[in-house]
Symmetry: C2
Subunit: 482 residues, 2 copies
């Protein structure tokens, strides 16, 4: 155990006061383990500054004492990105206290938001002004804006609006030397040198601690239409998406692929769920199309496109939600899938993307290969087909102990999946980031020029390696053995 | 004069052969002066590699001899960004020979394009596949993809599709150490560390030499509707834009503001132009709305919205192009405006942006202030109102020698305009970049934390300062006096 100097802790306690400083193990406990329960950190104190100036003061103190800081928002990272190291060497810096109500600028369709604001609160604040923030994901009730920016979060609307990177207009961040980058702005165009907003977005707190952001808003949804479609295979799903692109254009916001095995897990584990179509189809997609206020509802166009796809034999069955409650019920089947999978046991998870057009064949071919190689392993591939991003999860053969099987075979399965992803020009992290979970695989599979450039940038901006060390950037060669 | 070592020149001549190496003054001449004729460089040789590997070999040689390189595409920078230094210390590296036909991937709606491909050739290549590359600007017949990426070009469709930054899916670049960053990819999501594509986009060749890009394509236009509207003031223009947002949504691709004085310049200097409306209105906007194939034409909706704006007294007059030829004639009035202004004499130019909602008042107030302070100076503010970006150009009082007046008063006028821009949270470079023209003003007006971070990144990736030195990044404090 490495414990930060008592003098530093005393300085921090004095700076932040009782509301901003705690070394109570009961207070710290929920924040020391990632939400999947795979990583366990320790720390001497939880720091909860109330303002950007306090964050800067904390950073300057940490800098003076050479003590690392791990920034944390809602602690919903799936790659251990916000869990402090196990050796106790770092302090945990929560941004959750910095959560003033978002400032909504209707004239410029922008929101200025503190890092600690929870995503669903931003949704509500925008809606109160007839606007919306078009990024959403299952953790919206706990994920914070600072974390969503720092991980370049994706979610279920990327098809239309892009990831967080496309929605960040401005940023405020504290840099590793304790200076404050004042980049809050709703400017749509700004060509003054390297784009520091983009550099800090997705940097996982390794280059700066995001304290606030100016985010793009879009008009509120006037109407939406949600459909559930049964199909024979992923190839048909992509063909359907291309048809809808033609008929509905930008109106298609979500296009989520779900295999029958995934739907079965949900129906089995999640109360009050039922299959929206005859449950024998091997593949399903959930579609959401929207229209702004004043524009025609998308339901008729969507229904006509699905009807024609049915007549052409492209799809097997379809239902369009007849009410908002029905739409919510359909979405519940998709959104509870990760939870249902977790309730069913361990899975070896992969958050991968390949070029959109290559994804259907990739799913089919890689599923066959993995299930054959690992003798009965069960693949569950689901997600954002329209972005070329699926969550390719591999579960133990039926009847086997999932934890033991995952521990024994997980590393080899992951290397196999990742090699297949890289072979078709894909990425081993589509939306969850690298954190600590994927650091070794990132180091193993990445272009050395890319790694060298990441290291050069990290070293230039954080020469003492004090910001979230051990995450994202493989500073030294990693061991890749099992 | 600083001349690179003869041994280096001999090595480069041998590497590149006669087609790739020239020291003939007649060959070099067109590329040593920027297109506005304000900056004049000298160089010992023009290097024109034919492949990425040749670019890398050139960089390694330049690195070994510590000789700077200035990358150049179509030489259409408006800020002297691609003009080599006057002292002859650098070599000019043209990417123009690297111009194989673009590879269009219809399945992923992406184009892979060599740096030297001219923008209009990419437009044609995409169109041949029923797609389009949604970025265009007046220099499309000479600007190259490498330059457009390196300057994060904007243009007339940013309102809908964003700047080049939003269209770059992947990049290939040679880094200052001569290694090649292999980042060509059509992936829609990739969360593996710092976004090097975004860092290189808009870096003006100071961090890497972009050799190819994978660019996003969108469906071809099925129909378009172009309108010319006369209005009383910029505030009315913004109100009109908001109405059209509601009625037409994403269909509005261009919304260009033009003052009567600008239209007058065009009518006076450009042959075969005529005013589309009664020419007494003080302000005008050019609007383009589009629809994809299969979708209803936007003309009726646009006409209805303009009719209602006319009845409400928001606008003074409007005409909708009745034919493609008519639409081209309206666009010609906008696109020849910079040329007409140049034919009229020198202007002190500012490519500025402020928050969109602040732009109408900014134009009115700053025009009054500048015309009053500089006793009869004439402001011409035009451009992309929907992006909050106008070209705020100041011309000499009537009857004065424009060159002499600009030389005498230009620096003070620019500082005044820029101070007003900064006071409302704007930028002194919306789309043209910094280059050498704005380096001193950037240094004077920028947040010191931002400047320090830019310097740290530049120094980390290009420690010898060999890539386009003296552009974009104020490495040392600048003199700001006249």
């Amino acid at each position: 155990m490495i414990v930060p100097p008592p003098a530093l802790l005393a300085d921090l306690a004095g700076l932040l006061g009782p509301a901003g400083y705690s070394d109570d193990p009961a207070v710290l406990a929920p924040w020391l383990t990632d939400w999947r329960g795979r990583y366990h950190g320790t720390t001497a104190a939880l720091l909860s500054p109330a303002s950007t100036n306090q964050v800067a003061a904390v950073v300057r103190l940490a800098n003076a004492y050479r003590v690392p800081l791990v920034a944390q928002g809602g602690n919903s990272s799936t790659v251990g990105g916000a869990t402090p190291p196990a050796d106790g060497s770092a302090l945990l810096l929560s941004l959750r206290r910095m959560a003033r109500p978002p400032v909504i600028d209707t004239g410029d369709a922008a929101a200025t938001v503190d890092a600690g604001v929870i995503l669903s609160d931003l949704h509500d604040a925008a809606a109160a002004h007839g606007l919306r923030f078009p990024l959403s994901l299952a953790a919206r009730g706990s994920a914070t804006i600072g974390g969503l920016v720092s991980t370049n979060a994706g979610g279920i609307q990327v098809l239309r609006f892009g990831t967080m990177r496309a929605l960040v207009l401005g940023l405020e961040a504290v840099l590793p030397d304790g200076t404050i980058f004042h980049g809050l702005s709703s400017l749509r165009k700004d060509n003054r040198g390297y784009d520091l907003r983009q550099l800090l977005t997705g940097a996982e707190g390794t280059l700066g601690i995001v304290t606030a952001a100016t985010l793009r808003l879009v008009p509120a949804i006037g109407s939406r239409s949600v459909a559930w479609v049964a199909l024979p295979d992923p190839q048909s799903a992509l063909r359907l998406l291309r048809r809808l692109d033609g008929a509905l254009g930008d109106a298609v916001e979500s296009f989520e692929l779900i295999p029958a095995t995934g739907l079965d897990l949900v129906l089995h584990h999640i109360p009050a769920t039922r299959s929206p179509v005859a449950p024998t189809a091997p593949w399903h997609v959930l579609i959401e199309a929207t229209a702004p206020h004043g524009a025609p509802e998308p339901a008729d166009t969507l229904a006509a496109a699905l009807q024609s796809a049915l007549e052409d034999g492209l799809i097997l069955d379809a239902t369009i939600a007849a009410s908002e409650a029905h739409a919510e019920a359909l979405w519940k089947l998709r959104e509870t899938l990760p939870e249902a999978e977790r309730l069913d046991g361990f899975a070896v998870k992969h958050d991968i993307a390949v070029p959109v057009s290559a994804m259907p064949d990739f799913i089919v071919d890689t599923t066959s290969a993995i299930e054959a190689t690992y003798n009965g392993a069960r693949v569950l591939a689901f997600g954002h087909l329209g972005d070329g991003n699926v969550h390719f999860n591999v579960r133990a053969p039926a009847g086997r102990d999932s934890a033991a099987w995952s521990a024994a075979h997980g590393p080899a399965v992951s290397r196999d999946v990742h090699d297949r992803v890289m072979a078709v020009g894909g990425t081993i992290s589509a939306e969850h980031g690298i954190g600590q979970a994927k650091l070794a695989e990132f180091a193993r599979t990445a272009d050395p020029v890319r790694l060298a450039t990441l290291r050069a940038i990290k070293t230039a901006l954080d020469p003492l390696n004090l910001f979230n060390p051990g995450k994202l950037v493989p500073l030294a060669p990693q061991r890749t053995g099992p």
